[in-house]
Symmetry: C2
Subunit: 365 residues, 2 copies
């Protein structure tokens, strides 16, 4: 599959519109048949979902401006389903429809391993990270990480020569932390920086967990080197489990708070890493077979028209919803409405900014 320039513009407008995330994007394409048709349908759908005000649709001019600025910066947009789109990333539920890539997009086709850890890293942690990243790079792995200080930066630096991918929490024109901009320039020579956010978007705290799913999503496995209890790296490790990625953790002394998270992961069944061979031994069987593309690509130009739920069935579905997440299957069973009808009602609510999705379940905001 290859997006036409017009389609790519529509895709960008759709994913940049208010209340449209990766999952809603996919549902809209499937129901409306194309991003263009979805853009036309958005105002009506949001109104039917009970939006207080019309949801903001990304203007054509804004999207054109982003594409032009991206071209100047050397950023390419890979569309979900296109040949260049990273196959591993396509397997996650909420894969970004468009991945903005700067540098060598080809490295995204190589076997990728994620390395994450504390910003406040110990000297020993940094040293171990460098050794491990070098060894895994030499073994043919591309190392992906989050460009943060500490472990992330050490992993990138040690694998610049063999290929490393930085996943940005913000846009390509708003590198965080700013003093790592030279590191990005260096790593795109043989590697890449990727982002799903607008070019000039400056990341806030809540954007980091969203970014972390891309780190684990791109990789066959995630190595957590140092992590305190309740740290972001630990969340990345748990997210990796949900994405069926192999989770690795580096052990440490019980007296070292930076090992509390990794030791906890090990108690929960993560694979212990004290040398590169531990990672290679676990991933060899996975790399042996080609990574499969999922069979749930968004269909383009062949969707069925979205049904409009009756007032009555919409009211019944909304009444069943609350702040506690429930499964769509339960909504279908309890409302008596058809699956398509429930999906349509949920899509409307989402576009109206009234619904949140959480691990396949839905709740009112």
């Amino acid at each position: 599959m290859k997006l036409s320039p017009a389609q790519r513009l529509d895709w960008l407008r759709l994913i940049r519109s208010e209340n449209v995330g990766p999952r809603t994007f996919r549902a809209l394409i499937n129901h409306c048949g194309s991003a263009g048709a979805a853009l036309d349908a958005l105002p009506d759908l949001a109104r039917r979902g009970g939006a207080g005000r019309p949801a903001r649709i990304c203007p054509r001019e804004d999207a054109e401006r982003e594409l032009a600025a991206a071209a100047r910066l050397g950023v390419a947009f890979l569309g979900f389903g296109e040949d260049e789109y990273p196959a591993q990333l396509a397997t996650i539920d909420d894969a970004p429809p468009l991945l903005a890539v700067r540098g060598q997009a080809a490295v995204l086709k190589e076997p990728i391993i994620a390395m994450v850890g504390s910003r406040n890293a110990s000297a020993a942690g940094v040293k171990f990270t460098e050794q491990l990243a070098r060894d895994l790079g030499a073994a043919g792995f591309v190392v992906v990480s989050g460009l943060a200080r500490g472990i992330d930066a050490a992993a990138h630096r040690a694998s610049i020569g063999t290929g490393t991918v930085a996943v940005l929490a913000g846009g390509h024109d708003s590198i965080y932390p700013p003093d790592h901009a030279p590191l990005v320039e260096a790593l795109i020579e043989k590697g890449a920086a990727v982002s799903e956010m607008p070019l000039d978007y400056g990341p806030r705290g809540r954007d980091f967990p969203r970014r972390n799913r891309l780190i684990s999503g791109l990789a066959l496995g995630v190595i957590v080197v140092e992590a305190a209890q309740k740290s972001g790296s630990l969340i990345t490790g748990r997210m990796a489990l949900e994405q069926n990625r192999e989770v690795f953790a580096v052990p440490g002394s019980p007296l070292d708070p930076r090992a509390a998270g990794t030791n906890a992961l090990l108690k929960q069944g993560a694979v212990m890493v004290t040398e590169a061979e531990d990672v290679l031994a676990a991933l060899r069987p996975i790399i042996g077979r080609r990574v499969e593309l999922p069979n749930r690509e968004p269909r383009i130009e062949d969707g069925a028209p979205l049904p409009e739920p009756s007032e009555d069935s919409r009211a019944r579905i909304v009444a069943l919803l609350g702040p506690t997440p429930v499964s769509p299957d339960d909504l279908i069973r309890l409302s008596g409405a058809s699956a398509t009808m429930v999906q349509a009602a949920l899509l409307e609510l989402e576009l109206a900014g009234r619904l949140r999705r959480q691990q396949g379940r839905v709740a009112l905001i």
Copy 2:
């Protein structure tokens, strides 16, 4: 069961005689009917096994002298099968027939946990050991260890108040290392020191692995705190697995050589310990049920007379033996001799100093 003074003297003479280890002791009692009868049979058996010279039998006077010296030192001999004999220790293959105990024999009836580790311990390792030993002591465990410098001594010191058991590699009158003699005096107030060796026996290198089997044998589980690769503590951990004891290990940085052994144990499935609760959670189900005495106590005064193998069958059995350990079952199958006959021939060879046993298999020396 309670040994008479005469029986205890015979048991001591038998186990102190040349080429008689715990397994041979048991075989002799079972075949000859009593230690006294075994002492009478020893010269003939050794000669039939092809001893170059008569095996040395412990003279009655030597055993009497040892019993008298032990009494002066406050050392009691617990016989395998007697009520005071530690139930856990009785479950191992090569439990000592007589365990020399100084201090409070009653602590050997409490739930016991072993803690072992490097002599060359890190400050963090010592600190963690002290915390863990205190917590496990407070939870009702008696802590057993090997009186060595480093982790062992830290474990003993931290559990002096709640009860700790030192397993000596030498005899009670030859404490090693000598500067830990005051520690022994302190720990026998509420705990005990135990040994299977003659009172004045000074331990050599090869005696430590033998001693280590008693540390794990007395305990429900063994915690390895710090251990280099190929260290004695690691061997204790592996021995504990063979004895069906729970094995615990404390994680450490891959860059710390003192964690190489414990991390290796964790990779092999040892339970990770970062706090006392990890140990308690694993042992609670085991402590819940009363520890069972094994049903293979040596029978006293009711043995069947030992058969004498024919020259022919003895020659066939010896021909099947070599420096590579083989199982007695294979010998029975390949020699065509009866199980009793093979056992008798092996016992003779053992008493002649020509046979070694290794994990249930036998080989010529």
